[in-house]
Symmetry: C2
Subunit: 301 residues, 2 copies
Amino acid sequence: MSLLVTGSIAIDSVRTPYGASEDCIGGSAVYFSMAASFFCPVRLVGVIGSDCPFEFAEVFSGRYVDLRGLEVRQGSKTFRWAGTYYGDMDERTTDKLELNVLAEEPPKVPELFKDSEFVFLANTTPAIQLEFLGQIEKPFFVAADTMDCWIKGHREDLKRLLKRIDCLIINDVEVQMLAAEDGLVKAAEKVLGMGPDVVVVKEGGSGSLMCGADGERFALPAYRAGEVKDPTGAGDSFAGALMGYLAQKGKRDFESLKQAMGYGTVVASFAISEFSIAGLRAIGKADIDSRFEELRELTSF
Amino acid sequence: MSLLVTGSIAIDSVRTPYGASEDCIGGSAVYFSMAASFFCPVRLVGVIGSDCPFEFAEVFSGRYVDLRGLEVRQGSKTFRWAGTYYGDMDERTTDKLELNVLAEEPPKVPELFKDSEFVFLANTTPAIQLEFLGQIEKPFFVAADTMDCWIKGHREDLKRLLKRIDCLIINDVEVQMLAAEDGLVKAAEKVLGMGPDVVVVKEGGSGSLMCGADGERFALPAYRAGEVKDPTGAGDSFAGALMGYLAQKGKRDFESLKQAMGYGTVVASFAISEFSIAGLRAIGKADIDSRFEELRELTSF
């Protein structure tokens, strides 16, 4: 079934203990699309400025990423982010944030994309996420990400969004903030009461947890690859593989979501092994399937 | 097969966001013995002062905990610890630490216990752990715990200990400190090079990881019970169930260690659900087996 992502395209500059990468390609929609495209075609909705240096046909070469929802806005500047990761990379600072075109009108969902069945609303203001979602005719499964500043400052919009999505993908600190509740399971269950059928909690380097509205639960440890060179995009790669797998299968039941979370874990582990999208460019579906089997082996007893 | 633990018996005072427990029973040997005794008889080696208020026959009532290695030292005072846990309980402060009898001569391993096959050396100076181990004739499987202050201040003794044990059970921060290596798998693999056949890494509320000398790997998420009231003793309860299961089976292969880690995870989840040892006193083996099956279900995909 069809899969659409709305999100950012960024010019990133990243420093980690392993080195630095200047003006490289990033953004939630880019990582998501790279990851999802191992499983199914992806429709990308995003906006860049006319200064954007990337050749997207080349970035996504060999992948089914439909760029007809990518707006190049003349006279505007592309979103830029610069950050530094420390120690075991659980900590980072944002060194520079230039919203640029992201502070302007959001792009429109093209007519051709309005019949999308699987939809991922990457992190932005809940009002914009709602605006994107309102343009989709009859989605079958909608997932969204959010973050601390929308939980704190845009709570009413976020609550409206939660009533309209099927799945919230959120990190461990933020789910507890949103629920005003300590403990991941309790927090996730409280968020289920706000609307979604499924809450997926990303625990950074430690793994992930999923709670369903009918009391279902699933937990995975991280797949620890040899080296983590650049954690940027880990969460969006995770979401991309998760949604890509579901869209490929055309399913949204909890058992399929478990498999999907396994694929999310595996694809994220490749993403963080190199800077920018190099880790995702270096692999094929066979690498993913092989590591998926390793993950299954690693966790079964 | 026989199982022996050497460790502390403590008078604990604990504060957590859920309340406080004054002058309650604690100590590594107590939590370990409670947890292990669900699986097999336990031989306890430890020392208390003549001031110790606990009735051990009652503490361990209905369990096979052999107290012939428990020395009551006249004129000495029992070890006391007081601490406070904050927020989601990953942080704690030590408010009071009175080593008392633990700063004196360690107790002896009774003749009757010297044929022990499974041995757990709970956290103390590596020199004392070595002294305990030297009194066991021909152990089949030896595991030990350690902590930051011995890694920093008693490194040579610790290195000697590592050459003589089969399994190190250690937390995530400490394994990276010991290995001087970021990343849990890399750190654990480096520690394997220091002697043990198996390294088990406890990741607090997030789960656990195990690496074997032949490249085997296993990872488990935490079993998240409803509420964490008091995390004291989680690690020793984990180790107790792990070693208890192995001693019951008389096995030390990696597949058995995986099962053992599952039991460790489950028993620790009961231990932290109440203050002191109340969580472990409230359950039976059937509760453990049932939650073990839930854990398997929770993690399989």
